[in-house]
């Protein structure tokens, strides 16, 4: 799940300063779960923008805003509204905002800050455990990712900053290397801890990432 946080309303107003007619787009997937761009949040922002003197020409909570073809289809169906808009405010992740970008040449403004790929710990509580590095090494580390969960991304053990099992950078976070150590020990696999790991191949995925899965599947 992509975790996002709504930008402060004043910031939204500022970015829409030159726009009278606004089309608000939310997302039925991640932004609904994080309560940053679901039906309720879209309605709330609509009301506040109207109070601030904006005219809301349409609202949509797309099934997945990051689906570019879907977004094109929605804007075709609401052609008149889309054409009358001065700006699109997107309450979704950065991918969703750029998906909207592909469908219009008008002003597109992000309504959220996109934070990380997160696991859901409990309602409205998220934690980053994977940083999409392109080459999964979890099996080497008891399926606890040091690339993501160690603040320094260390691959060969804890730094000197581990503090009663917590991270020096943020005492509310567990030291990933203490977790990895305990896990491997419980599996009787400390030999994995002792293996010296070379640095990550940071270009395992050439950024920006691109994948033609159909073509790859066809070639296989």
């Amino acid at each position: 799940m992509i975790i996002s946080r709504q930008k402060p309303f004043e910031e939204l107003l500022e970015s829409l300063a030159g726009d009278k007619n606004v089309y608000i787009v939310g997302c039925g997937e991640c932004a609904t779960m994080t309560q940053t761009g679901g039906e309720d949040e879209v309605a709330d922002i609509k009301a506040r923008l109207e109070e601030a003197g904006k005219s809301i020409v349409a609202t949509d909570v797309a099934h997945s805003t990051c689906h570019e073809l879907d977004m094109k289809r929605i804007f075709r169906q609401k052609k008149a509204e889309a054409e009358s808009a001065d700006a699109f405010l997107v309450l979704s992740c950065g991918a969703g905002t750029q998906s909207v970008r592909e469908s219009t040449s008008k002003h597109v403004a992000p309504g959220t800050d996109t934070l990380f790929l997160g696991n859901i710990k409990r309602q409205m509580n998220f934690e980053e455990k994977c940083s999409l590095c392109g080459e999964c090494v979890l099996d080497e580390f008891g399926s606890i990712c040091p690339v993501t969960r160690c603040a320094k991304g260390l691959l060969n053990g804890p730094c000197g900053g581990t503090n009663q099992g917590k991270c020096e950078v943020d005492s509310e976070k567990d030291c990933a290397w203490v977790l990895i150590h305990n896990q491997l020990k419980s599996e009787d696999k400390l030999d994995k801890f002792m293996q010296i790991h070379g640095p990550k191949r940071w270009n395992a995925v050439a950024r920006p990432g691109r994948l033609d899965a159909k073509k790859e599947k066809g070639a296989a």
């Binding site: 603040a151 320094k152 991304g153 260390l154 691959l155 060969n156 053990g157 804890p158 730094c159 000197g160 900053g161 581990t162 503090n163 009663q164 099992g165 020096e168 950078v169 290397w177 203490v178 990895i180 150590h181 400390l190 801890f193 002792m194 010296i196 790991h197 070379g198 640095p199 990550k200 940071w202």
Partner: protein, 298 residues
């Protein structure tokens, strides 16, 4: 110029000090400290953007020490440079006559004075040790043959009071395996704990030519001792030392801290606990000669 390595190989009790480069170009105080210490110790560490605070560079200051007739232990962290820049700096350092490198991961940028900087950590300490070893063997990290390799004495650090200790011990073993030839520890104050750690460490390095120097940070006040216990991970000042520091007036606290440091040096040397000491006076380098005298080292 291999004064520090020669000292380590000679079997003598090795002593190093530390120079923290200034924030800015006014280096008079630092030059004064270098001249004061360079002939009294076997080597002087030079910190690399210590605590993630941007400062004058470690390589330039290390070179200054060597050109003034001392020996420098060039500290290198992985926080600020990727593998291209690290190797480039290692070749440059070698070109400038530096022969000791202390391989560190480096404090996180969030503790420093450029908190929004992008931390790098392309390599970390274990990999940096491996990399220096490769350069010593005449190859770069990617396996390309160098037109002239390096000849570095490879150092690393370990935190004997880490909590929990077991993962830290395993990492120490990996550093030995990777090619570390000498270790300087994080500050230690509890000599009984440290002796236990050294029993273990000497077991690990048995049959290998690896030297271990105890890191000693001079206490200058009760407040400092309490602060370190509370805020510096991996540092533990036992109650009896805090009480000892508290037993004297504020004016005499520094002298008491020096006495404690000298007492620890003597104990470590007499009991042959470790191969030497690394003394960190953190901005009060002028007291180091007196500590060395009190410890009968000069």
């Amino acid at each position: 110029m291999a004064k520090y390595r020669d000292a380590c190989n000679s079997g003598k009790f090795v002593v190093s000090g530390e120079i923290g480069p200034p924030k800015g170009t006014d280096a008079d105080g630092m030059i004064h400290d270098i001249d004061l210490l360079k002939d009294m110790v076997d080597g002087l560490n030079v910190t690399d953007n210590q605590s993630a605070v941007m400062r004058l560079g470690s390589m330039a200051v290390s070179h200054e020490i060597v050109s003034r007739g001392g020996d420098a232990i060039y500290q290198m962290t992985c926080r600020d440079r990727n593998r291209l820049a690290l190797q480039n700096d290692l070749l440059s350092a070698h070109f400038l006559g530096l022969r000791n490198v202390l391989c560190l991961t480096g404090d996180h940028v969030s503790v420093g004075d450029h908190k929004d900087a992008k931390e790098v950590y392309d390599f970390e300490s274990v990999q940096l040790i491996q990399c220096v070893k490769k350069l010593n063997e005449g190859f770069d990290w990617a396996g390309n043959e160098l037109g002239g390799g390096t000849d570095f004495y490879i150092g690393a650090v370990v935190t004997p009071e880490s909590d929990p200790l077991e993962p830290q011990k395993l990492k120490f073993e990996k550093k030995v395996e990777a090619g570390a030839q000498f270790f300087q520890t994080q500050a230690v104050y509890d000599m009984d704990n440290f002796e236990r750690f050294m029993d273990y460490a000497r077991g690990v390095t048995q049959g290998k030519d690896v030297k271990i120097m105890a890191g000693l940070v001079v206490l200058t006040s009760v407040g400092m001792a309490k602060y370190m216990n509370k805020f510096v991970p991996g540092v533990f000042v036992p109650d009896n030392l805090i009480e000892e520091m508290a037993s004297v007036s504020k004016e005499d606290a520094m002298q008491k801290g020096m006495e404690i440091c000298a007492r620890h040096i003597k104990l470590l040397k007499e009991k042959d606990v470790c191969d030497g000491v690394h003394i960190m006076a953190i901005g009060k380098e002028e007291i180091v000669p007196d500590i060395l005298k009190m410890a009968d080292l000069v």
